[in-house]
């Protein structure tokens, strides 16, 4: 084939770029990319962690490059369709240019350099966010369809300064002074500013993903494995925790919500301004609920039920729950028709059975999706008889 000489094809084709156009075009691309990258803060949530700051900077850089590529490609397309549009009466074909090795070399090498730079930058950021600081607060996260619970450790060294050991039940004293200590759970993840947190996560059922958009971190929970991710919050506030891996019909409910009355419900990250506030407002009060359990079983039940993942599926106005996968718990104690249908004569017995063996009687319109809470500590989803009695006592107060 009689190819045109490569060096002068551009001039022949009438589509050549004088140097001045390359300079002007380059400036448009750089300025365009820069202007596009300025939108970064408005399209990301407030950066709440040290990791988020690094990731946002990486994104701003990529948006600068990507915005430049966008301006370049769309600009060239726009110039082409205007300048080289077919004009009425023009019966000619375009010039027979088959390529230009220099140009092709340039548009292979420059993108290769650009992605190499992005990859190196991303690698540097990755090394920084992957490191788990040694003084991290250890928190356990349990994902269950469709709620999160976070577990905190307590031992004899973390007790409130004004603890009154005489008022603590004996079994709690034994557990807390043992080597393992005791753990208590909360639907919220609490920490304080500048305290690195290492979240170690497990799932009871399917895969989930632990995502805090404000912290820019995400890690899947994998059935049969323990996974973890660390982050360091830098600003006090509340941040929504979201499940980001499809886990079933209630997947969208497995996130922090704001109830109609404006309260936080479900999974939230609460970053206290300092350790003292964290202890005063969260850690000690939560621990005291175990140290000094209420004597009224209904009050105890109201406290205990929040340690189990019920909020993801049930509505209960008293606690701000809005789940819809399961039947509502509002006014449960007054549902005599259901009691009759279930075959029980005593509401307490029905509630006991519904928790220990949820499949035994299904409320019409709902599927058998609830976790079966076992009385045997060796089984998964253990619920002690004491907890169950307290929960039933609490639910019996939910009348219409």
């Amino acid at each position: 084939m009689n190819l045109p000489k490569l060096g002068n094809t551009q001039k022949q084709g009438g589509g050549g770029f004088p140097v001045v156009w390359i300079v002007i075009g380059g400036l448009i691309v750089i300025v365009g990319g820069y202007l596009i990258s300025l939108v970064t803060p408005s399209i990301l949530p407030r950066a709440g962690s040290a990791q988020a700051v690094l990731i946002d900077d990486l994104f701003r850089f990529m948006l600068f490059i990507g915005g430049g590529v966008f301006v370049l490609v769309e600009g060239l397309l726009l110039v082409s369709v205007i300048r080289f549009r077919h004009r009425k009466g023009d019966r000619a074909d375009g010039p027979p240019i088959q390529g230009n090795t220099t140009l092709e070399f340039v548009w292979t090498v420059i993108p290769a350099i650009v992605v190499t730079v992005i990859a190196i930058y991303a690698f540097v950021v990755w090394q920084q966010i992957e490191t788990v600081p040694p003084n991290s607060q250890q928190v356990g996260a349990l994902g269950q369809r469709y709620a999160w619970s976070f577990s905190y450790e307590a031992n004899s060294e973390t007790l409130p300064p004004d603890v009154n050991m005489d008022a603590v039940p004996e079994d709690v004293v034994t557990r807390i002074s043992s080597e393992e200590g005791l753990t208590f759970t909360s639907p919220q993840l609490h920490t304080w500013v500048n305290q690195p947190v290492n979240v170690s996560m497990e799932t009871d059922d399917v895969n989930h993903a632990f995502w805090i958009p404000g912290m820019r971190i995400k890690q899947d929970l994998l059935a049969g494995r323990v996974t973890s991710i660390a982050f360091t919050p830098i600003e006090a506030g509340v941040y929504r925790i979201v499940c980001a891996e499809l886990c079933g019909g209630g997947h969208g409910n497995m996130a922090g919500i704001v109830t109609p009355s404006g309260e936080l419900s479900g999974a939230w990250l609460i970053v206290h301004p300092d350790e003292e506030t964290y202890l005063r407002e969260f850690y000690y009060p939560e621990l005291e609920k175990i140290l000094y359990p209420p004597t009224d079983p209904a009050l105890l039940g109201r406290q205990v039920i929040q340690n189990y993942p019920c909020s993801g599926c049930h509505i209960l106005d008293d606690l701000g729950w809005v789940g819809v996968t399961g039947p509502t718990l509002n006014g449960i104690a007054s549902r005599s028709a259901r009691l009759t249908a279930s075959g029980y004569s005593d509401m307490a017995d029905y509630l006991h059975a519904s928790i220990r063996n949820p499949g035994e009687y299904l409320v019409p319109g709902y599927n058998n999706l609830m976790i079966q809470f076992n009385a045997d500590p060796a089984q998964p989803n253990y619920m002690s008889d004491a907890d169950l009695d307290a929960i039933v006592a609490y639910l019996l107060t939910q009348t219409q």
């Binding site: 045109p4 966008f70 375009g94 010039p95 088959q98 390529g99 230009n100 895969n207 409910n253």
Partner: protein, 573 residues
Amino acid sequence: MATISAPLPGIQVSEEGKLRIGDYLKWSVDHKIIGVQYAVTALFFFIIGGALAMAIRWELLTPALDVAADGTAYNQFFTMHGTVMIFLWIIPMMAGFGNYLVPLMLGAKDMAFPWLNAFAFWLIPPAGVLMILGYFAGQAQAGWTAYPPLSTMFSDGDGQTMWAIAIHLLGASSILGALNFIVTIRNMRPEGMGYFQMPLFVWAMLATSIIIVMATPFLAGGLTLLILDRVAGTAFFNPAQGGDVLLWQNVFWFYSHPAVYIMVLPGFGMLSEVLSVHARKNVFGYRAIALSSMAIALVGFTVWAHHMFTSLTPSLRIPFMVTSMIIAVPTGIKIFSWIGTIWGGKIRFNSAMLFGLGFLSMFVIGGISGVMLAAVPFDLHVHDTYFVVSHFHFVLYGGSVLAIYAGIYHWWPKVTGTLLNESMGKWHFWLTYVSFFFTFFPMHLLGMLGMPRRVAVYAPEFQTLNSIVSFASFVLGISTFILLYNMVYSLIKRKQAGPNPWRALTLEWATSSPPPAHNFHGDPVPYKNPYGYGTEAAYRYLEAQEAELGKSWPNLEEEPARALKPSSSPAGD
């Protein structure tokens, strides 16, 4: 390389016989009939998948669950939407284009294995029906990715099993079709057409077929394990009995990432044809475009785990980031080569070209967000969010579907012998283009601001953006019917297209429209360069073709380009 000259068995129509609708409804080994069968079947499923998309967007108009009966029903919507669009729309549609065009572009009488070709097609309708019928058995609801244990121990309905069997059949169909393409392209090129004289669409089909043959067996293996876990009590994915949920993710993505290229490479090929013909200019950097398809096919096998950046062992994430970034380079070569192709040409803004340019301008956005997603730290934030949904719709709708539209407008005259209405085509383009952008671009923002994908309920602050997306998507859905109406209108109106209305140089135009049963009247002689526009030799070639076949453009308002003296080419080939 000689073409097959013996008569092919099983073609019922005579050389001159006209095809009737009934011929398309029964078994045929004619690649043109099979191509149309693929395309019509795929369009049918496109409408089903689109209806499901409308249901999804209707649900997402408000933050609460109000359209779907429950969350599970919503999950079934998007599971079927994704599966239908991938396995029953884009992949079969591309196979349809390949079937119709590859033998014609090679000047061959049919595919290498005509019977196998028909068999591969006829696996699709039963598979599609089986998948849809899952609705009556508890439809699949674990997403098109079907991650265990959600898709195994936590999906009671038999629909999930039917889903897996249906995809198994579709995968088998895909493999058989791909083998046929490879053998056809390898052996049935005409005298004088080496690999580097093939049309770029044929190159793209070759690269696609190689990916299918290498990758789809992995999907088949994974699906077999999934089905066994569901029906035979095995525990490949059950950690309680020693299984591993990451095994599925690895095997699934080892197929499904290359599958992205299975869906988009034929679109790249069509784009090269459309841009060159309607800009009346040689493809810029033919070899680079041809070989970059192969580079994408090969590198595409090393990037799968970027779909697992939040589940993969952290130490393995960086290598996959590097490979995923590398694949941007051959893709960039293509984009710049296409711009080089139209630069300096005589761009004719007919519907095919508009969709071609639309593809180019939207696909680049998907490419940019793809590089962003490849960067592990940023992916930690946007993984499994609407950012990803946006990215892959820019690639698969802005890429594959707009390419399919361009291909439909470009080759419709060849397939049916009639022209599509250009005004309707332009309405179709502008409505699709604008509503496409407003459907998918705001999704980037939703994902970055904190909305995960696959949710039926979302935080109230996302309602404004979601409403924009939903309303735009309704326009996008409606715009599809302009094309369908145009097709019917064209078949009733029968405005004759002529053999070569675009005066293109590739061989599928060197025969009557529609082509006769054995494709060509005699043995066609390919022009030495399938894109050699603007040269005197090409003009002579087309003139000789016209003398033999009749006028190229009997009914176009404007006479197509016919450069006797190329405008400025003293050194043409």
